[in-house]
């Protein structure tokens, strides 16, 4: 049976969350697939569903200062349509699923699903994005990178709803996103690479590198990044090998139905190299 509640207000939803054990249901594009049973048979859930996508309070999208605030019920399509969404984020969103799925799917769902193949995650990690968690009595804010603890595991408590996501602003003049899938459209990620950097006068001021689908968690290392910050771009080739070795230790992919561990690892390292050499060197004045 598909038993569910459609709360009219956020407070009502939080009451429900406090009083009964329910599954928050946003676009359902992960949940419906995960609970599919067989052809011609409806999905079956063992708990009550709480439909959150109609909650007006979660449909907000605004800029607070320079921080982008995205409500938990905002769909990927709505993010794509919004002028305030950064271009590189749009490029990532455009390569997710296909239009019909994006019309339903939410950013919050992608985060809470906590899959290492979640395509928005490398960006959220790289941007130091935060999630807002609300229960009847408490509101707390956590970095996305802390919120997700392991594949399919988060710090969300049973009575909490994720109500919003905050993405602090940052400007970059070098941006590269590569998603490797089995095909172009409607394809889960085998490996993805995101590189963001801002440079001035041939010097690296800020650099962020994140990789998806190549380890149990999103790979981002501030320690490795700090080896690059402040450096002259022309010095990158000299430390490239060391950097690749550092990343190599973090990239721990698996074999599955989509690809092999060996391919994921080698290509990730090549994409890092491609970004650091080909994309960055172009910025030497």
């Amino acid at each position: 049976m598909l038993d569910g509640y459609l709360p009219a207000k956020l407070s009502e939803a939080l009451d429900m969350m406090a009083e009964c054990d329910c599954i928050p249901f946003a676009g359902g594009t992960d949940l419906m697939v995960q609970h599919a049973r067989g052809s011609g048979v409806r999905p079956c859930f063992d708990k009550t569903l709480l439909f959150v996508s109609a909650l007006k309070e979660l449909k907000t999208f605004d800029l607070m200062g320079k921080t982008l605030r995205i409500g938990a019920a905002v769909t990927l399509s709505e993010l794509l349509e919004n002028a305030a969404t950064p271009q590189i984020f749009k490029e990532i969103l455009r390569q997710m699923a296909a239009a019909p799925t994006r019309h339903m799917a939410t950013l919050a769902g992608n985060i809470c699903n906590a899959s290492p193949a979640g395509d928005t995650l490398p960006y959220l990690y790289a941007m130091d994005a935060e999630v807002i968690l609300q229960s009847r009595n408490e509101t707390r804010v956590l970095p996305v990178a802390d919120f997700i603890t392991a594949p399919k595991r988060t710090q969300r408590k049973n009575d909490e709803l994720l109500t919003g996501i905050r993405i602090p602003a940052a400007e970059f003049n070098v941006e590269s996103y590569r998603k490797l899938g089995q095909r172009k459209g409607m394809s889960l990620t085998k490996a993805s690479f995101l590189g963001l950097a801002s440079t001035a006068n041939g010097r690296i001021e800020d650099i962020r590198i994140a990789l998806g689908s190549v380890a149990p968690h999103i790979v981002r290392s501030r320690k490795i990044e700090s080896k690059l910050t402040g450096k002259n771009i022309k010095d990158i080739p000299g430390i490239l090998q060391e950097l690749q070795k550092d990343y190599s230790a973090l990239i721990r992919p698996i074999d599955d139905a989509r690809s092999t561990a060996a391919y994921r690892k080698q290509v990730s390292l090549r994409l890092i190299r491609d970004f650091l050499i080909n994309c960055m060197l172009k910025k030497i004045p």
């Binding site: 697939v33 049973r37 067989g38 052809s39 011609g40 048979v41 409806r42 296909a98 590569r178 490797l180 089995q182 095909r183 172009k184 459209g185 409607m186 394809s187 889960l188 139905a257 989509r258 690809s259 092999t260 391919y263 080698q266 290509v267 090549r270 994409l271 491609d274 080909n278």
Partner: protein, 776 residues
């Protein structure tokens, strides 16, 4: 031929287009049956095992569970599920349910319940105990003395073909001519390479579906998503031990077949449920079941050995094909035969040739009919082989093929030596426009200017590739098709045909042929097809036969009708038949200038004098199978960082004789080309260590989306086949044969790595590029 046609060659709309678009014409699962029982199959998780025990009681104890079928309570009749002519050329090696399971996905039992949900749940409650046997996964080891044996001595082939279950040999073909040794001595170089075509699924959007019920006269009606309604009737009657006269098979609209529904898999099971319970039954597979448990493209390992002189003359060619038939031998002999018979005649000037083909059993999914039917696998090898040959001798590939391929007026010894499972028929090629096809391809792809140029942008390199192929038009001396027509008093005609439109548009094409003969508009034709009670026989939709063979039957039938119409008109106009001329939907006497319309003629025949029904039946049985020809060229871009290959453009130029309906012909070619690109680029069966397919869903088994497809250019080259209806040959299969070798050749052109095995995934291409860099 400069004849002007009224209907032939016109891009008429499919006659069922509007009804399909509005949803008024139905597919099997759209038929609502009252009190219907729902069936769910239970499959083996093991590749090879004996069933020790089946305990149905926990399932039967559930509310709403009606029955559990297994070997215990179903007829035990050896048969083949291949929907072929009788006696079938495939070995009789399967039962509806057996005590032994031979692949992970073999059927064990079937639950029958009041709803799909109950059936799903109950299927998990049936307890089955197995005793495992050592499984066989490597076809190369299948004939080893110590290999596990899949089948026992009781299995046999009804046509007496080479078959030896004791050696896991499902079929064997061994023939040749000339002298290989002599050929080898005359050669300057010998090229010896091995190519592997892999498993593939048809991916018809409508899964295999069947519904059965008893009508008010107590006859068993089978609504089936099938390519072969008459074979369904025959096989169900035999394996269910139920009188054929009491069975009526109806094929409604079909959401694609591609060969996957030339297999009688579900119909006997649903029929048994209706017979046992006197209630309607429904059995519809999920996508996962279609992947794992229905039929696939046979993987074939092809070794080609050839000797070549410096000028390019091939002094001998040896083809050794090993076909992995999977657990059962469905189509094992005929697909194997076509791997040679549809491929080798293309190079008919070779004097010394040998073909050795073997089909072997393994504990893997079962092969079956699939668009291209062995030719796809054979041409993957041959087209790469020719590319290798031309590169070694520094010869231009298109010019080389033009010089060596079979031409009009020529024959090949292979035609006579090798048919579909038996010896073939001598035939001469009466139409071949392959040169034109090749020229169109090289021009459209920009061959001269791109080939060998390795055009670079950043890490991406471009390359071009070409491949050619022929196919057949039906199976000569085997296939038969029939049509029946009658005239109505408004000048319309009932056209009843056994031919099976599975989305191909054959209802439209056959109606166009009749309309042309009778000089009427297409909407004067009322088409009824594929109902075993109401239409005459036809073997069904396979072997690229419908336009050619069924088309000839329809033409013959319409000509008989025309003769009667003119006879009546002559009586009405008081003149003789030979003085009369056809005018649109009527008959004219040029001498008197009088014209009478079809309605008047039919009314006269029905009501006025010497009354009779204007009607006719005709059937066709052919002695030749004129090959269509195709050339396909591609341009690809290889990303050397990731190994990802993007097909940028694909050109297809085809000689299918006169295209009866050019739009539908183009649709067949483009559909087949996409099918071929998909097979080449992403489609792949991935198995776990114990032979279980692990990517049995569209989530992990990818076919292309619109975003993945290249720019496509399709040209139907003017041609005329003298033996075809209005000059037509076939077009349904041929377009799948070339994308895979053309892409392989293009990848080589771009980055210099030869891929002998598809799909060309980034993983494979990346590895090949790295390996080559290490060597250098």
């Amino acid at each position: 031929m400069s004849k002007t046609y009224t209907s032939i060659g016109k891009a008429e709309k499919k006659i069922d287009a509007l009804a399909l678009a509005t949803g008024s014409r139905r597919f099997v699962d759209d038929f609502e049956l009252k009190d219907c029982l729902h069936c769910k199959l239970i499959y083996s998780p093991h590749a090879f095992a004996d069933i020790i025990k089946i305990d149905e009681s926990p399932a039967l104890a559930m509310d709403g569970v009606v029955d559990v079928l297994s070997y215990k309570n179903t007829p035990q009749i050896l048969h083949t599920s291949a929907g072929q002519g009788f006696p079938e050329p495939s070995p009789y090696d399967q039962y509806l349910f057996d005590k032994v399971v031979r692949f992970a996905g073999d059927r064990v039992a079937m639950v029958v319940a009041e709803s799909p949900a109950i059936a799903e749940t109950a299927a998990k409650k049936v307890k089955i105990a197995y005793k495992l046997r050592k499984a066989l996964f490597d076809p190369e080891r299948a004939m080893d003395a110590d290999a596990p044996k899949l089948h026992g001595k009781e299995c046999y082939t009804p046509i007496g073909a080479a078959y030896d279950p004791q050696r896991n040999l499902a079929a064997e073909v061994d023939l040749g001519f000339g002298d290989l040794k002599e050929g080898e001595e005359a050669a300057d170089i010998v090229i010896d390479e091995t190519y592997k075509a892999h498993y593939g699924s048809h991916c018809a959007i409508e899964p295999h579906s069947v519904k059965t019920y008893f009508d008010d006269e107590g006859r068993l009606v089978i609504l089936a998503s099938t390519q072969v309604p008459f074979h369904v009737r025959r096989i169900v009657a035999r394996v269910c031990e139920f009188p054929l006269a009491k069975i009526r098979v109806i094929k409604p609209r079909i959401g694609g077949g591609f060969g996957g529904k030339q297999e009688v898999l579900l119909e006997p099971l649903a029929a048994l449920v209706s017979i046992r319970h006197k209630r309607p039954a429904r059995l519809v597979l999920s996508r996962e079941e279609v992947f794992r448990n229905s039929r696939t493209r046979h993987p074939v390992r092809v070794r080609l050995r050839s000797g070549v002189k410096k000028d390019g003359t091939i002094t001998f060619l040896e083809m050794d094909s090993l076909l992995n038939s999977g657990a059962y031998g469905s189509h094992a002999l005929t697909v194997l035969s076509n791997c040679g018979s549809k491929v080798l005649p293309l190079l008919n000037k070779i004097e010394n040739m040998h073909f050795l083909g073997r089909s072997v059993y393994t504990n893997l999914p079962v092969g079956g009919a699939y668009r291209g039917y062995g030719a796809t696998q054979g041409y993957f090898a041959l087209n790469q082989h020719l590319d290798i040959l031309c590169r070694r001798l520094d010869i231009d590939l298109p010019e080389y093929i033009k010089k060596h391929h079979i031409r009009e007026g020529e024959t090949s010894k292979i035609f006579e030596a090798l048919g579909e499972g038996k010896t073939g028929v001598q035939q001469f090629v009466n139409s071949c426009k392959l040169d034109e096809c090749i020229d169109i391809c090289t021009r459209e792809i920009g061959w001269y200017g791109k080939r060998d140029k390795k055009i670079r942008s950043g890490d991406k390199v471009r390359g071009v590739g070409l491949a050619v192929a022929m196919q057949g038009s039906g199976i000569p001396l085997v296939d038969m098709a029939a049509a029946s027509m009658k005239m109505n008093e408004d000048g319309s005609f009932n056209l009843d045909i056994g031919a099976t439109d599975i989305g191909t548009g054959s209802d439209t094409v056959l109606a166009q042929i009749a309309a042309e003969v009778l000089n009427v508009d297409l909407d004067a034709m009322i088409v009824l097809s594929s109902d075993t009670d109401r239409t005459p026989f036809d073997v069904g939709a396979y072997a690229s036969s419908t336009t050619y063979i069924s088309g000839r039957a329809v033409r013959k039938c319409a000509e008989k009708i025309l003769e009667q119409i003119i006879g009546v008109a002559a009586e009405m106009l008081e003149t003789s038949s030979d003085k009369l001329k056809l005018s649109h939907a009527g008959v004219k006497d040029p001498a008197s200038g009088k014209r009478i319309g079809y309605p008047e003629i039919c009314q006269y025949a029905m009501y006025s004098a010497n009354q009779f029904q204007i009607q006719a039946v005709a059937s066709e049985f052919v002695e030749e199978s004129p090959p269509p020809f195709i050339a396909q060229a591609v341009e690809v871009e290889v990303d050397t960082v990731t190994g990802a290959v993007q097909v940028l453009k694909l050109v297809s130029a085809v000689d299918c004789g006169q295209a009866i309906n050019p739009k539908l012909a183009e649709g067949q070619i483009e559909g087949a080309a996409v099918n071929g690109i998909s097979y080449a680029m992403t489609e792949e069966y991935i198995f776990s260590g114990n032979g279980r397919m692990i990517n049995s869903s569209f989530k992990n088994y990818k076919i292309p989306t619109a975003a993945d497809l290249p720019e496509m250019k399709t040209v139907v080259v003017p041609s005329h086949e003298p033996s075809g209806p209005f000059g037509a040959k076939s077009v349904g299969e041929i377009g799948i044969n070339c994308p895979m070798p053309a892409i392989a050749n293009a990848i080589y052109d771009a980055v210099g790595v030869r891929l002998y095995e598809a799909p060309f995934t980034p993983e494979k291409v990346y590895r090949a590029i790295r390996k080559q860099q290490e060597v250098q």
